[in-house]
Symmetry: C2
DNA sequence: AGCCAATCTTGACAACGATCAGATGCGCCC
DNA sequence: GGGCGCATCTGATCGTTGTCAAGATTGGCT
């Protein structure tokens, strides 16, 4: 039961339950994301009573928020990695979009939680804006020729890109798209074709459009 | 209790409970879409016992499906109406997208149900494809210069457009967008600007891109 | 008229989110 | 170093939900 004391701030007398709960939740989400996560199930998975979490989270929603935050971090990492691997100057935005969607496809339950929380809070975590995926998009847009001085235009473009990626992420799983997907040679090709249809993802058009 | 025998199949001895349930559900969704709809609440609203709905719907999900179907119809109507009012040849796709998002903004609860069901079924109702919003998008794309013969290209573009609209619909409510929205002069202008960023919505670019 | 079957109600069960009164034990202060 | 304070955890409980089984009720067909 006892786990080795990690370097992090180990709070009180039973180990780092908050951390344990978040990890239990992540485990459950990864295992079976079908239905929605139950707070009692998370407590069970962590080996504590159903009321224990309420000493670390005010709500079930606050636990989900914590899970979502981890998701945003992970998403940012994967997008950064995808960008690092991609050749410079060639469809960087498409690469970013594909990475975004691939994350949502490989972690559907976590992604759903991430966005459900965002909808509840009606706001996005600042970490996202400062150092996360949003920042990446802005940088790539500038790289693609957008004027860094034009704040309005930049934000508008970034939002548009994000909306498109989110829309694709939520719809690409529909069974009805399977034939077309197969016809194009798999999900990756399908995604690239889809994003390329949204011409904002093509640097030369972006530059001329603004 | 007895109502005049309508032309439709009038089921059995207590009036058209199925219809009453769907309407009760719609009423509740319109009234307060905050939390998710409870099957018991719908039964309560319709004035029947909590178990009564199970004679007309296998599940809670099947009731939600019925509600979603009404939503798709309503959405199609509103998009059709928006298109009818718009001037010909000028940003018809943007008009369509704006109408889509406006529907989702004015009926957020129903829209959420519509898409939650789609995600469960992993498929879209055929009515959508045949005579609904999807068909409208395809027609407008052709009108904008896409080759009607190129099925793959047409479907790809339609899916891309739809994805973008859906993404915008789900994200446009974020509080963080409020300043930019105000700066652009309201939601309508914000939406048009957003869609215009996705250059697929500009006919002359579409024609040249394909 | 009389029966069949579909409809609706009652009652029940398990699971859920949330709260509250106690038990438990860490850490700090004297 | 001993005792106390307080955060942490448990157990019980409440109201609600989805779903099911059994019984009451009623309309329609023969």
């Amino acid at each position: 039961m006892e786990q080795a004391p990690v370097a992090e701030t180990r709070p009180y007398h039973h180990g780092d339950l908050r951390r344990a709960l978040v990890e239990a939740g992540r485990r459950l989400l990864e295992a079976e994301g079908g239905s929605d996560l139950s707070l009692r199930a998370v407590a069970r998975e962590a080996g504590v009573s159903p009321a224990a979490p309420y000493h670390h989270f005010r709500d079930k929603n606050e636990l989900l928020d914590a899970l979502a935050m981890e998701g945003w971090d992970q998403l940012g990492d994967q997008m950064r990695a995808a960008l690092a691997e991609a050749e410079v100057g060639r469809d960087r935005l498409v690469t970013l979009g594909v990475a975004y969607v691939r994350f949502s496809r490989m972690n559907p339950a976590i992604y759903r939680v991430m966005f459900a929380c965002s909808q509840n809070n009606e706001t996005m975590p600042e970490k996202l804006r400062d150092e996360g995926a949003y920042r990446l998009v802005c940088d790539t847009l500038i790289e693609s020729g957008l004027d860094p001085e034009d704040e309005t235009g930049l934000e508008l473009a970034a939002i548009a890109v994000w909306c498109a990626a989110h829309g694709v992420a939520e719809m690409v799983g529909f069974k009805e798209f399977a034939p077309l997907q197969a016809h194009l040679g798999g999900e990756e090709a399908f995604l690239r074709a889809l994003f390329s249809q949204l011409d904002i993802f093509r640097p030369h058009l972006v530059a001329q459009a603004v």
